[in-house]
Amino acid sequence: MEPHLSIDPVNDVQQLLSYPFMVNALEAGTIVAVMAALVGWLMVLRRQSFAGHTLSLMSFPGAALAALAGWPLVWGYYVFCVGGALGIAAGAGVGATRDRAQESAATGAVQAGALALGFVFLSLYGGVLEDLETLLFGSFLGIDSGQVLTLLAVGVAVLAVLALAGRPLLLASVDEVVADARGVPVRALSVAFLVVLGLAVAATAQITGALLVFALLVAPAAAAQLLTPRIGLGLALSVGLALAVTWVGLGLSYFTNWPVGFTVTTLAFILYAAARVVKR
């Protein structure tokens, strides 16, 4: 049956949901959107989008390493994500306040080094890695229900960690100096946040692609923070925007046949631009 858009929205949704792969995609997208929106809100607050993007790219060298060494894929991701997170944290210096210039330089070096390693592994491996473009640009289609369960487990774990560390992490993100004076382990929290970010992003990127994760991490959270300075409302808004972007993007992609990476990022960008215009 060819996808075709009718005037009746109920019929359209029924048509979408009649395919198991679309149902899986919507479930996976929902989990990713909720997790990315919450983690991303903290990431945007901490101004670590660059680190987030770098960690999301770690799925490529991770996959190449796993292919070369014959490991399960996830091992490769974890090696590179944890390594990358520690490298970025090391670049930020040892003090309570992050040296942002050095952190960004270290992030750049980590990213370039890891990608270079990825190409070397790929070249040594000699084979063709499933699909580099899928790994980078992602696709929600072709996700099976086992992967949805994996995503769900990762999402729950990440949110549990964030819930536990939430308050001190928030204080450390907003004001490092005050947090340090109050005895909050700012440095350890900073490293821990990067590692959690890395694990969350890597586990997601292997299924949905690096681009989609990153777009969902940064744009809804950035729009939410533009619209409200309140914490609870901001988090809720971020999740709501991410869900809307994901669902509409998936539907649009289904009916137009455009790549989902394009529809989701475009919708996210429009939301962010609208938020900027509203606040101007």
Binding site: V44, R47, Q48, S49, F50, G52, H53, T54, A90, G91, T97, R98, D99, R100, A101, Q102, S104, A105, A106, T107, G108, A109, Q111, A112, G113, L115, A116, L117, F119, V120, S123, L124, G126, L132, E133, F137, L211, F214, A215, V218, A219, A222, Q225, L226, L227, P229, W258, P259, G261, F262, T263, V264, T265, T266, A268, F269, Y272, R276, K279, R280
Partner: protein, 320 residues
């Protein structure tokens, strides 16, 4: 090895691009704009794919895209507009002074640009039969060994032009970066310089994409410059060091890749550069901890203004 023409072309183009990237990268790290460089490198990918989809020359699309996005980033209240002029605008997070707004703005803009890249990839691969692998590989991985003599000379000419342009703006740009307020008071066009610098960065990104590829460009931009910043605080020495490290990376990388055929040239070049950065970080860290060079602490502060509020910077000497 030098008997091969493709090696000579690779070394010619690679050396010039390395010098330009090393010098521009030094400013990129100083200004905390590595993420902008990262974004522009991915924009190069999108640009090339767009050109491929439209059937244009790849390089035209590449340069058009990088320069256009560089201008867009500068206009979107990037660092160029930071400080007094946009401070009253108030984008919620009070983004005057350092560049917090940049981080998110760049992130949002460039995830969208990558999304466009996905669309062009789809349009291109569904439009013409096959071939998308070649374009994708050329832009993602670079093709330093595939440059013709004409392309190599063109790359060299662009790189020399970049260096000359940077030479013209270097002194005021340095001032505008280290102390934007004083520079503005003294009549330096801080915003204009930031704009010009991003455009230079855009051209350099397009240029370096041909040598090491869009994905690895960042290695040539950030790693040698980061290493230089770790090792010395002196601007001109640091810039020279950054250029030297980039140059050595290209030479050693090309050499290694020639000897070991399974080693992709882009990876080898970036691998050497990142290795230099790690060594420099270890060495610089030891110097700082040991306190052997007292000026090291002052260095950290001198480089910090884009990372912290300028008010904190200016108030510090008076309080201590």
């Amino acid at each position: 090895m030098l008997a091969h023409e493709f090696i000579r072309n690779a070394l010619l183009a690679g050396s010039c691009v390395a010098l330009a990237s090393g010098a521009i990268g030094w400013f990129v790290v100083l200004r905390g704009q590595v993420f902008a460089g990262d974004a522009l490198s991915h924009v190069a990918f999108t640009g090339a794919l767009a050109a491929a989809a439209a059937g244009w020359d790849l390089r035209a699309g590449l340069f058009l895209a990088t320069v256009a996005v560089a201008m867009g980033l500068a206009a979107l209240g990037g660092r160029a507009g930071s400080g007094g002029s946009s401070g009253s605008g108030g984008t919620g997070s009070g983004g005057s002074g350092h560049s917090p707004a940049d981080d998110t703005t760049i992130g949002v803009v460039f995830s969208w640009v990558l999304g466009l890249g996905a669309l062009f990839l789809y349009l291109y691969s569904s439009g013409s039969a096959g071939g998308n692998g070649i374009v994708g590989a050329r832009t993602l991985f670079g093709s330093i060994f595939g440059l013709s003599a004409g392309e190599a000379w063109a790359a060299a000419a662009v790189a020399v032009g970049l260096l000359l342009a940077l030479g013209v703006v270097a002194r005021p740009l340095l001032w505008a970066t280290l102390d934007p307020r004083v520079a503005r008071v003294r009549g330096v066009p801080v915003g204009g310089l930031g704009f010009v610098f991003l455009v230079l960065l855009g051209v350099d990104a397009g240029e370096a994409t041909q040598v090491v590829g869009a994905l690895l460009l960042l290695g040539l931009l950030a790693a040698p410059a980061g290493a230089a910043h770790r090792l010395t605080a002196s601007p001109w020495l640091g810039m020279a060091l950054s250029m030297a490290i980039a140059l050595v990376s290209v030479w050693v990388g090309v050499g290694c890749s020639y000897e070991l055929s399974s080693l992709p040239p882009g990876s080898a070049i970036v691998g050497v550069a990142v290795g230099c950065y790690v060594l420099a970080a270890l060495a610089g860290g030891r110097v700082r901890r040991g306190g052997a060079i007292p000026s090291r602490g002052a260095t950290g502060d001198a480089i910090a203004p884009h990372g912290r509020e300028p008010t904190a910077m200016t108030s510090r000497p008076s309080t201590s």
